[in-house]
Each structure stands twice: as C-alpha cells, then as structure tokens.
C-alpha cells in the first residue's frame, strides 16, 4: 500500500481544525451543523485508517455504528432548526435567547 497511516491522520486533523473553526466563528445554525458533520467525518476517517493498519475489523464496525448514530443526530438537529426557525423566524443562534436568564 502506497499510503501511510500518517497521511490519513493529517487529513483528519485538517478536517478537525476546519470544523472547530466553523463552530467557533459561524452563528448560522445550519452552518454549525455542517461543521459538526465535518468533525464526525474526520473521526470516522481515523477509525477506518487505524483499523486498516492494525489490521482489525473493529475499526470498520465502529465506523458503521458512528455513521448510523450521526444520521440520527442530524435528523434531530434539523428538526430543532425547523422548530427554532418557526419560533424566531431566524437561524441566527444569537437570537435564540429565550432560555437566557
């Protein structure tokens, strides 16, 4: 195999950095969901890469579980966006302040 483990790990670190940047800077609810998706995908890439180089089937199994749970998380997140948009007519998280004391 031409590619080494460190290559995949570096791509994963880059995606993690981009996701954290998105979470820190953006105030748009949908874009923050994008950033969370990118971080989850970086984690999945790490799982499969380490599972390939050990080699062990556990990495791919855990990645499949992680993908399925991420699908559930996105469904709940999108329905929260719809509810919040219906309440505030906006997707700026700085406007969602009804829980603020």
């Amino acid at each position: 195999m031409a590619n080494e483990l460190i290559d995949f790990t570096l791509v994963s670190i880059a995606l993690l950095g981009i996701g954290i940047y998105g979470l820190a800077v953006k105030r748009n609810f949908i874009r923050m969901l994008f950033a969370i998706e990118i971080i989850i995908n970086a984690a999945n890439l790490n799982l499969v890469a380490f599972g390939r180089f050990i080699p062990d089937s556990g990495g791919q199994t855990l990645a499949l579980f992680s993908i399925a749970i991420a699908a559930a998380e996105v469904a709940v997140g999108l329905s929260l966006i719809i509810v919040a948009y219906r309440m505030y007519q906006n997707i700026d998280i700085a406007d969602f302040r009804s829980l603020k004391g």
């Binding site: 820190a24 994008f34 599972g51 089937s57 791919q60 399925a68």
Partner: protein
C-alpha cells in the same frame, strides 16, 4: 509517500469542507458538503473498506445531504444568502484552527505512527458482518432502537400543532 489519488482526494475533501463553511449561499454550501462527504467515501475506498464507503455514500451523500438541502429550502431566501458570523471572532477562529492543525500535526508527525506501514491483507467485509451478529449484537439492537426513537422524536418536534387543530396556517 502518498500517491496521486490520495492527493486529489485530499484536495477535494479539504477544499469542499472550506467551501461548505465559507460559501455565501447555503444551497451551494450544502452541495460542497456533499463533495466533502463523497471525498471521505473515496478515502474509505483507498483504505480497502468498500462496505463502509458504500454505507457512507448511501447514508451521508444520499440521505443526510438531501435532508439538509430540504431544510435549507424551508428557510427564507434572505437568510439563505446572508452571512451570519462574528467578524471579531473570525481571526481568532482562524488562529485556533491553525493552532490545532500545527500542534496536533506536530505531535502526530513526531510520534511513532509515522513509520507504520502494513503489508497484511485488508479486512474482509464478511468479518464485519460476523462481528455485527456475534459480538456486537446488543449494540446493533440498541442502535436500531435509538434510530427509531430519534426519528420519531424528530417528527414529533417538527410537527405543526396549528394544522392539527384544524386551522390552516398561512
């Protein structure tokens, strides 16, 4: 050393991840996110994990990205094209991103995994199926229940009470 396919996939994945966050339009942003998720599926193919790659294509590119597109369509048009972000935080965010990339990258490059290569044959996908029905079967059942309950919860959350009461809302 990495080969051409790896480098092309890395450029596509990281480039469209940046585009997904930075494009002005949310619709183009979600299409760029689709490209990034497809690039990850390509990495899974490079890692000899075709089953996970197809699962990624079916679940992420096929359903999650389409779900996000439909949600974006429910939002007002001005909000789709408006950039909402903290201007003051932008440089701090870029600094945080570079700090994470450089420090974590330095730690990983300095660690022992730099020399790890493998000549062993890849894991057969039949082993994954065996894993699922033998060792991980309670987790599999739990995952099915969690998926069912979260999708039901999402439907209940997004339900419109006013329509149920017989009054058409405009």
């Amino acid at each position: 050393m990495a080969d051409i396919a790896f480098l092309a996939l890395a450029v596509i994945t990281i480039g469209s991840a940046i585009a997904a966050l930075e494009m002005r339009s949310l619709i183009y942003g979600s299409i760029a996110l689709m490209g990034s998720l497809g690039g990850i599926a390509g990495f899974f193919l490079l890692l000899d994990a075709p089953f996970v790659a197809l699962f990624q294509l079916a679940v992420y590119v096929g359903s999650i990205a389409v779900l996000i597109l439909f949600t974006v369509m429910l939002v007002k048009r001005e909000l789709i094209f408006k950039k909402i972000e903290d201007k003051r935080r932008k440089f701090a965010g870029i600094g945080l991103m570079l700090l994470i990339m450089v420090s974590l990258g330095a730690v990983f490059i300095d660690s022992g995994i730099k020399t790890i290569t493998t000549d062993e044959p890849p894991v057969d996908f039949r082993d994954i199926g065996t894993d699922f029905v033998t060792y991980y079967w309670p987790a599999l059942i739990l995952m099915g229940l969690i998926l069912a309950s979260t999708v039901t919860g999402a439907l209940v959350l997004a339900r419109r009470v006013d329509v149920e009461d017989g009054q058409r809302a405009n």
